[in-house]
Subunit: 299 residues, 3 copies
């Protein structure tokens, strides 16, 4: 018996303004009516492969075994390959363009097993034009996989080591001892997730400095969003286990001018600097930069 | 046999930009694959408990029996309790934070039966951080309830009378005889639902005055949106049985500067005032306030 | 046995900010719990019948056999009829207002068979007000059709020839030999679909002129979006087989000031005019209009 899957987890940059998601779901249902389609999100910014790859990676460990259909595909109709990639010894298959979108999720769940390029037109729809591969290539392939089609029937096997990797920023300590971090994601509430594991700042104590462009702020480790006082900047371990910049019931991203890709330097305070309690500011800090006194810190 | 439910009606402020809804659905499906999840709405404004409570109340009588999963949860990770509340002798269970979000819906369907605080971690997910209770607490509990887990297994029983009530505005007649009302909700089309039962204005006749801030307008009772003439302000009995301010195929909220929470005074015209037909304006009105002549009314 | 359907494809202008879609789905599920509801799109601009009709037409050939529930209904509660229209010898039934919304899709799938006006209240919900026909009329009718209710039970048969047609623009060649076209749709990526079959410009060669208001541009036929060079304007055969104006990974609509309904004149170049390669501009062009030199073309 060929493997069969009963769930397709579907992520794209199609948005909801147009009928793209509905048409893809209809195509799937026509081929594999018993399959449940779970929408991961379709509001990845148009053509933003990195944002899609990160959303997929954040979701990966929670998705049901089955087929993952992921389409953020600015190169549609061009040279990029369409692929299907097995993970977990075939427990799941990721289907999408070979442009880095799938890579972080594949890595997170243990790396790629077999992979094929989707070239066999028997498992695809005839298309008036080459621009809607989600409908014409990826959706029918995902549905056929659920209905029992074997991976190797979809096209020639390719070396999974040759799949395009994603380029994600890694945090590091610079020559001055600052932790060089980057905003991975700003969520709906305006929390800014950093590429920082809490362990990396475990020795920084409860309060630390944030440098965002020319701004210097003091942030405090907080247990939850509700634990952050009005006016304060909190660093919370978010629901994915990463450090996230947050403020009290408002958008930290808006208040601090952060967006996905923004650089953030995290500074460990010396013993002297660490001393001031929240809201108390040393003279040196005040004199060097008088605005927003309770959040500033001297160099 | 424990009660089992086959539908989860799901409302939140998660939006669709992120993968929150998809992850919650995946968590549910992993625990209770046969359950249908019906999205009520996920576009409640972030952290807006009142808006979420009203949307849930408007929907309540139409939702299928089963579990209602409702998450608008600014206090996540803090002191607020996570609860499950039976209604209708156990025909349905509402699962969510105890912050007033559930209260109007519970009241509408006959009040709370048993209630428990969700403390037993065996029915929850281990979480890297405390900030995504929808995924880690509420969704698994909702799914386990569907799969047959009994309410009392989820945590200690609590007094339903101790659940946080919602504070919703009640319309009333003031000393001057004006009906003091408030906008509960502005819908996608810009119609502004008031907290006014049509009975309250039954004696006001066909035409009445609206005072919105310093503006004074004349509104006419209309059978439907299409019954409102261009330039006219209509008062329609909306699909929930409440009085709603509408204009002809445009947004009444935008035209009149209304939003959820706006105060509106409704004025009963005297016999003399009631006389003018639509579009006809008395000299007194014109002289007292010359703009928008066909909608004005003198004091 | 009465015909039964297992899929409802659902399109509306309800948006996702309110609970309208969720309530309609709940109503359907209460009547016909086994039916799958596929959302085509709910982000048709409010009251925009033409946009809804075009989205439905674009989707039509991909939708599963069954019931199509389509609601863009500015005349709700007024004189417009509520109808159900069979197509494909009863393979599918379209349910919605008789305001032109259904017409293009009906035409595309072979025209209307039987049609009825939805007057029998036994298959509808009692409503507090007449403004939410999706919930109170169309959804219950759609669900009852799935559950086995026969078309003729829903109300009196009407002449399908009397259904309101849609008015869609047809491209044509004007006296000067220009192809007079119109933008049908701007998608999420900013591609502007024209009402032009590629055959209509087959003899125009690889490059042709676009007149948009006072602007004159040169566009090039491109195989895919990725085939369009930076700064270039491409004409791509889109996923529905129509000509679409696109630019390199940006919004063509934004760059060229196009929206649904914009007029576009397409000009065939003479042999001399066709000569210049992309980026090369003739003196005549430069002198007649100096801005954006590599996209201009003289009269």
């Amino acid at each position: 018996m060929a493997p069969r899957y009963d769930t397709i987890s579907f992520l794209s940059d199609y948005g909801h303004d147009d009928e793209f998601v509905g048409v893809v779901r209809s195509v799937i249902r026509a081929i594999a009516p018993e399959v449940a389609v779970v929408d991961v999100t379709h509001q990845v910014p148009p053509h933003d492969i990195r944002a899609g790859a990160l959303a997929l990676a954040r979701s990966a460990q929670y998705l049901c075994p089955g087929v993952v259909l992921a389409v953020v595909d600015p190169g549609v109709g061009g040279e990029r390959r369409a692929v299907a990639v097995e993970v977990g010894d075939g427990a799941s298959v990721l289907v999408g363009p070979d442009n880095g979108l799938l890579a972080p999720a594949v890595a997170l769940v243990g790396g790629a097993g077999r992979a094929v390029e989707l070239t066999d037109l028997a498992f695809q729809l005839e298309a008036p034009g080459p621009t809607f591969a989600g409908r014409d290539v990826f959706a029918p392939v995902a549905a056929h996989l659920c209905a029992g089609t074997r991976l190797e029937a979809l096209g020639p096997e390719i070396d999974p080591a040759g799949l395009l990797p994603a380029v994600l920023p890694i945090s590091h300590i610079d020559d001055e001892g600052l932790l060089v971090a980057e905003v991975l994601w700003v969520d709906r509430y305006g929390n800014a997730q950093l590429n920082v594991d809490p362990d990396e700042v475990a020795a920084f104590g409860d309060r630390m400095g944030l440098r965002i462009g020319d701004d210097r702020r003091t942030a405090r480790r907080a247990r939850s969003y509700g634990d952050i006082a009005p006016g304060e900047i909190g660093l919370v371990i978010d629901s994915y286990g990463l450090l996230s910049v947050a403020v009290d019931r408002h958008s930290a991203a808006e208040r601090l001018g952060l967006h996905a890709g923004s650089g953030v330097l995290i500074e460990r305070f010396s013993q002297d600097q660490e001393a001031p309690a929240a809201g108390v500011v040393t003279p040196v800090q005040l004199s060097s930069r008088p605005s927003a006194p309770d959040e500033e810190v001297g160099p």
